[in-house]
């Protein structure tokens, strides 16, 4: 049954086949498979490294974003503080300017009021003087200046004893000289009347000097070093001036409150 030559030949054949397959098949196929596995492992490692790199870069990017956000918040906070500080400064400046403007305006108003009142007083005095002079002349055929002098002299005569003593003392200290101030030029007889009356009342050797005064509206005044006796129409106009001044102040206060309300509505 067994052909031993064939057995030996088959053993040789098998060994030859084994050598050929080892060279042509196993070595090459295993090398190719090994290389593929190495390539896959290498690619896997590369992918892993890239994934780790990507994760690291993502972390870096997130950290940078956080830092940028924080910086932005800090910058915004700084800008807000600066803006608020600047606004406060501007508000203070504006308030100061408004206050200054108000004080200037108030001063201007007061000046205007004072000028108006001065002008009013002057005009009123002139007009009242003129009216009084004409009325006295038309109704009683009396001269205004003479009436003023008479009224003044009657007040001098009616001075109390203490007052009279004080005036005399004052006149003595002033070298026995007195100044009589009037609104306009007096006639000579009025000047004599005054001089005589004053010498009778105070000192016999009194030297009287007459001069015009812008301070008087319509009146007469005796001026010594320490005393002044006067009658002036200004005294009668004081209440009128007070009334006008009060009216002006009320008008100003009302306009001011209206302006403030309008400013509130506008804001």
């Amino acid at each position: 049954m067994i052909d031993w030559f064939t057995v030996i030949a088959q053993i040789v054949n098998f060994l030859i086949l084994l050598a050929l397959l080892k060279y042509f098949l196993y070595g090459r196929i295993l090398a190719a498979m090994e290389k593929r596995q190495q390539d896959i492992a290498s690619q896997w490692d590369d992918a892993q490294q890239q994934r780790e790199q990507a994760a690291k870069e993502i972390d870096d990017a997130r950290r940078k974003n956080r830092q940028l956000d924080e910086q932005r918040e800090q910058m915004l906070a700084t800008i807000r503080d600066e803006v608020e500080t600047h606004r406060q400064e501007l508000m203070v400046k504006v308030r100061f300017e408004v206050s200054e403007q108000q004080s200037r305006w108030s001063e201007a108003i007061q000046e205007e009021t004072a000028a108006f009142l001065r002008d009013l007083r002057r005009r009123t005095s002139e007009e009242v003087g003129t009216i009084a002079r004409r009325a006295l002349h038309d109704l009683a055929d009396v001269d205004l200046e003479r009436q003023i002098v008479n009224h003044f002299l009657s007040k001098v005569r009616q001075l109390g004893e203490d007052e009279q003593v004080a005036v005399v003392a004052s006149l003595r200290e002033g070298n026995h000289a007195a100044v009589v101030q009037t609104t306009g030029e007096l006639t000579d007889d009025l000047k004599h009347l005054i001089t005589d009356t004053l010498r009778r009342c105070f000192l016999d050797d009194l030297e009287v000097r007459f001069e015009k005064s812008d301070d008087l509206l319509c009146g007469i005044a005796l001026q010594t070093d320490a005393h002044k006796l006067a009658w002036d129409l200004r005294d009668y106009l004081g209440s009128l001036e007070h009334e006008v001044k009060q009216t002006l102040e009320e008008e100003t206060a009302m306009r001011k409150s209206q302006r403030e309300e309008a400013a509130k509505v506008g804001s």
Partner: protein
């Protein structure tokens, strides 16, 4: 070759002295030429990229499967055993599958071929065993567990070689002969079924032959590995105890 001839050895084409060229040797050469040709063609342009030729893919599956089987059965690295075990399996399976080709005489249906393969296994077992654990270490396997077992071990070695040879020869020869007889009796349908069954039988026989060879070789090498592992575990336990 007639149906009376039990083996293709008997069909002699050329004879000189004791040397003869019979069908067994001729068809072995054909199988060898075919296998080498396919291997050469498939491995001419190998690529390590995922895109590869069908032949390369097929051979990689075959070689990969054989490699895995060797690893599973022997529990060792398969590279040392792949050329021998792989060639055994591929030669037997190619011969058996080609048996369905009309006019082809499978060399594995010859007792001389199966005896030659069994002798190769008989020689490979001590060669691998000695290469793996030395001459003394291998011979010690025959007196294991006691020297009384020596004759039984020797008889077992020879009997399993004989069993290898006769199992493969018997299966392949019977398949071929049954096919031929049925072709004479019922030539239309039945031989096709028997050929299909023959394909399955041939594949299984190739698998059995290769696996048994691997088990024999593995048993000659694994005993050493087991002893080495036990010795290492013992040394580790002693070191830990100290």
């Amino acid at each position: 070759m007639s149906i009376k001839d039990l083996s293709p050895d008997d069909a002699v084409l050329w004879q000189w002295e004791f040397a003869s060229l019979n069908y067994t040797i001729l068809y072995t050469w054909i199988v060898m030429a075919l296998m080498v040709l396919v291997s050469w063609l498939a491995t001419r342009r190998l690529t390590s990229r995922p895109q590869m030729s069908r032949w390369q893919n097929f051979l990689e599956i075959v070689i990969g499967t054989i490699n895995n089987q060797i690893r599973d059965v022997s529990q060792q690295k398969p590279e040392r055993y792949l050329p021998f075990i792989g060639t055994l399996f591929l030669f037997i399976v190619t011969s058996n599958l080609l048996a369905v080709v009309p006019g082809f005489h499978a060399p594995t249906a010859s007792l001389s071929t199966t005896a030659a393969l069994a002798i190769l296994v008989l020689v490979a077992v001590p060669v691998y065993g000695i290469a793996h654990q030395g001459f003394i270490g291998y011979l010690r396997l025959y007196v294991h567990p006691t020297p009384l077992m020596l004759p039984f071990n020797v008889i077992g070695e020879l009997s399993r070689t004989l069993a290898l040879a006769v199992r493969l020869f018997g299966n392949m020869m019977s398949g071929a002969k049954i096919g031929a007889i049925l072709l004479a009796i019922a030539p239309l349908f039945f031989p096709i079924v028997m050929h299909a069954l023959g394909l399955l039988t041939g594949l299984i026989q190739a698998y059995i032959f290769a696996i048994l060879a691997l088990v024999y070789i593995g048993s000659a090498t694994q005993a050493h590995d087991t002893r080495s592992r036990l010795r290492a575990e013992h040394n580790t336990a002693r070191a830990e105890a100290d």
